[in-house]
Assembly symmetry: C2
Homo-oligomer: 297 residues x 2
């Protein structure tokens, strides 16, 4: 992975996202600060980068992609703010900074997350105003976004995860895969497929991308389970062993480390195979996919 | 107010809303139950009724209004689920039933609210699929909905309210009006203006409706402040005097009961005056506006 190229991509994503954040002036000041605090905490901006690079790969041009890049990062961020709540994971730190609820209080963090989710759709709808925007493509992209972030996408995966933890329920591989595919995979799918839709890709191409994204998201999550056992705390930026401590069912507890690594590798290879079948060129995106799911090798 | 007519309107709204609720089958089961529990708790369905009646007043026909009727009730319901959280008002009962977080736990209630908000947009987007839908009108309606529910609408009002309570801050009349106009007024505006947009009303007409709705929402909220002091617990369905107990600044604590009543009456009269200026006939809607802001007279 070319670090300099990655940095350029991240800064480009930051620029776009920041453009759509609320101005800190007038009412409702506290929740605006909380929203900006949470989004400006940084992060890899993986989803908007995936979206942009897929858009470019299919020859997409112009600014119609930008509201969607900001929107998907807002959705990702709202999910982090709510996941970190006392009522959920009760995490006090993220990316080396105090989490939103620690700074602004639990109630205001709930509202900041709500505000981000609402703003994501408000922002994505601005794509209709971009000169030359294809209305039907924007409508398809909006629908895809709302599906993949909702009950039968990210939120559904997260809800099953929370449910299993609250009930201290043993989950089987089928349910774990459902959680991984939705909690992580769905938003990566949204990123890549929306990039493709807005560039005018064919249904066959978006189908393939959706498979690639699901494999990437799932493999990424399995690697996360592996890193929880054998990662370097400094490198991954959070405490190692927290899944074990919380008695959490993970891909590793079900299949063991060697099998988990083998499966992640297979998914990664399959993702690249399908990606290459599409027959479009984006070396950076290809590298990005490989690097995302090769973190433990 | 004709109670029988009101009941018909409410049942019609219920029918529409229920059509868009998630089926209780398969993943993610618990959050789906929580969502359906909260929406099926009942309620007056004031917002979808206002929307439908305004749509009809401008000669609107067909089903394009239905996804928006369901969406606005989902947004209203998500705000109730989150308002009731321990982290917010910590209310254990609503409409005579235990609140969502009491039954499903705080974390699951956060997710149920998130799911409802996301589903609201997912549902409203289905208006594009209705046969004969005017795409440009649907786009305008979607934008209006997302603005009025968000940071510069309902959520902004709610955030200022929570902020003032958390900081035990004295608020002045200007901030109180901001809270009332947004926390309550904005979603009534969304209801009426979206009904009008989807029926092809002119900009002048939607401007007037937006004023009517703001007056109705604000007067309604002032009456709520009055009822908190002198209402009948059985009739209003919640504890009287909770604002006083919580030392909360309300329209009544700032202006006193007689002045508050006078102002609410004036807003109500003005709302009806502007409504009549539009020059369209809907006796039921007119009655509804009068009844909503005449509860203490």
């Amino acid at each position: 992975m070319n670090e300099a190229e990655m940095k350029v991509a991240r800064l480009r994503a930051d620029d776009v996202i920041y453009k759509y954040l609320p101005e800190e002036a007038g009412y409702p000041s506290t929740v605006i600060s909380a929203i900006n605090y949470s989004v400006k905490a940084g992060g890899k901006r993986i989803r908007p980068i995936f979206m942009y690079e897929t858009f470019r790969m299919f020859g997409g041009e112009g600014e119609v992609i930008e509201p969607f890049m900001a929107a998907i990062e807002m959705i990702h961020n709202y999910s982090l703010v709510h996941d970190d709540l006392e009522a959920m994971d009760n995490d006090e730190f993220r990316r080396g900074r105090k989490t939103t609820h620690v700074i602004y209080g639990e109630g205001m963090a709930v509202l900041a997350g709500d505000g981000l989710l609402n703003m994501a759709f408000e922002t994505a709808l601005k794509a209709f105003d971009v000169k030359g925007a294809n209305k039907n493509q924007v409508i398809r992209a909006l629908k895809y976004l709302s599906e993949k972030s909702g009950l039968y996408g990210m939120l559904g995966g997260q809800a099953c995860d929370v449910d299993a933890e609250q009930k201290k329920k043993e989950i089987d591989l089928q349910e774990l895969m459902y959680i991984h595919e939705n909690k992580t995979g769905a938003l990566i799918q949204a990123a890549m497929v929306i990039g493709a839709i807005l560039a005018g890709a064919s249904d066959e191409e978006t189908d393939k991308l959706s498979q690639v994204a699901l494999l990437v998201g799932t493999a990424f999550q399995i690697e996360d389970d592996i890193l929880d056992v054998e990662g370097d705390e400094k490198l991954i930026g959070k405490r190692v062993g927290s899944d074990v401590k919380n008695n959490k069912t993970t891909y590793v507890t079900i299949k063991g480390i060697p099998e988990a690594k083998k499966d992640a590798k297979e998914m990664s290879d399959q993702a690249i195979r399908i990606f290459d079948e599409i027959g479009k060129e984006n070396g950076f995106l290809r590298e990005l996919i490989i690097s995302m799911i090769g973190r433990t090798n």
